[in-house]
Symmetry: C2
Subunit: 333 residues, 2 copies
Amino acid sequence: MKIAVLAGGVGGAKFLRGLRHHLSIIHPDGDGGHTDEVSAIVNTGDDVWLTGLKVCPDLDSIMYSLAGANDEVRGWGRAGESERVSAELTAFGVGWPWFTLGDLDLGTHIARSHFLREGLRLTEATERIQSRWPSIGVRLLPVTDADVPTFVSVTDEGVDTQIHFEEWWVKHRAAIPTRGFVQRGVESASITPEARTAILDADVVLIAPSNPVVSIGTTLGIPGVREAVAETRAPVVGVSPIIDGSAVRGMAAACLTTIGVGVTAEAVGLHYGARTNGGILDAWLVDSTDAGAVPALHGAGIRSRPVPLWMNDDEVSGVLAATALKTARELGV
Amino acid sequence: MKIAVLAGGVGGAKFLRGLRHHLSIIHPDGDGGHTDEVSAIVNTGDDVWLTGLKVCPDLDSIMYSLAGANDEVRGWGRAGESERVSAELTAFGVGWPWFTLGDLDLGTHIARSHFLREGLRLTEATERIQSRWPSIGVRLLPVTDADVPTFVSVTDEGVDTQIHFEEWWVKHRAAIPTRGFVQRGVESASITPEARTAILDADVVLIAPSNPVVSIGTTLGIPGVREAVAETRAPVVGVSPIIDGSAVRGMAAACLTTIGVGVTAEAVGLHYGARTNGGILDAWLVDSTDAGAVPALHGAGIRSRPVPLWMNDDEVSGVLAATALKTARELGV
């Protein structure tokens, strides 16, 4: 079975780990061998060139997590990380002192930037980098090879300006007056051939419970993505990132509020919209606590099912992934 | 007094520390204030762009040493260094696994590469970087802003090829059949205005006891350097890097042998040549053990004086620097 997953960082990583666990991709003895192929089509809106290094937070969060190299306690970055280089950069007055890059993490950025400067596309550079961890078991595909950094229109100390998403997210904790999001360069960007093929050839397309605005929203904003999702013969099943009326990752609420979408499973599902009506969803899994949203979603042409959405560990996330696949099957795989 | 010092890495650093010590630049209470200005005109032939980062070994050796941030025991790099990033790069299969860059050192390279990509000249980037350590007390000037990497014509496993100087020096320990040195890009390079002015405006020009081929030689190879040394009204005093018939830094012998110059204080002095005869030297300090070289040097128009040249510590190096300045004074400052 071919599965394409649209994914952002942390929520995407947890969901993909669950999916991989369910499919026993990494432990083929679990089901006597597998033929499943999972492609993750990953948001690149958070990416930033910083002091000459290309940083791709979502690609790396997912890669480290799938490689088992992530910091489980801190929730981001590499396990066993140190920050000696960043301290140097701060001493030299370069970079963002509030955006500390770990030493191990910097290895990834230096390697990736090197590959890009050698002329590789981001897709190719990502393939080279992830090949270090053969057990990842998921093909990581940036949604686009172009630079499409998300900027945020804010009012900072009374001045209207645009700042890079990471500055808004990490430095300001999304807590300054915000007017909207702009994806710079998106007009001339396009979905990569690999991501397009992954969606078109998929048996199932899944939307991970990632930030609906700055992860899934920016991914859908890349020319060619909505078209591929509309065109694929695969059913499209999304998983709500809202549980019991709040964003699992707190600051996602600020993103939804900024674009005028309610912080509810229903509102996000309707924001994505029914595929039969120009949207991207055939089905939308909401949390059991949000079961009240189901009728309205059905009414809008989106099959909806309440299930437990908390992804406490790979086992639990695996059950969620299994439910998503089962929902897709019922829709006609 | 304005002093310009042509310098390579380790020998240059020790000599400059001695000079700074003698002039009491860093401890102005030592002489009740100073008005001396020391400019180091530093070899850039060892520089290399590695995985997108500009590495300048000689500039950094001198900078770390003058800043007191160098590893005294190992003899190169930063004190308290670690190599976590390099281990990552090796795992990703990028860079030179035999050319390990320390984490602290990488901070310098990332900052410098960032400044260069922002459009600064290497001279300006160096000024920005060294400003972190205000107590350096010596103005570090790359001899040129252009990339002029030294390549080495070698026969490696039976094949004639050219390899970067660092590969020859660090990987092969200068121990493979070597036919010569080539400075790529030197034809279109030129001395920086800052380095030129430093030489022309100097009261004294000193040649540090650095590698005569791949440090001083490459520096003199930059168009405009020999002209400035010829033109300056300052006396030019060199310090021999050969003591008692061997190179202080072992592999320098391989460099001299390759270009057909004997590994003696006399041969190197004559190789540099008398300024009165198209060369660069007015005077040449040789080690006490090499006093026998003095008559031949005098005969060639180079004032020569035997003095102890071992630079065991700043105190001893300071005495050597004082002797060099005294020699210059006698020549007519």
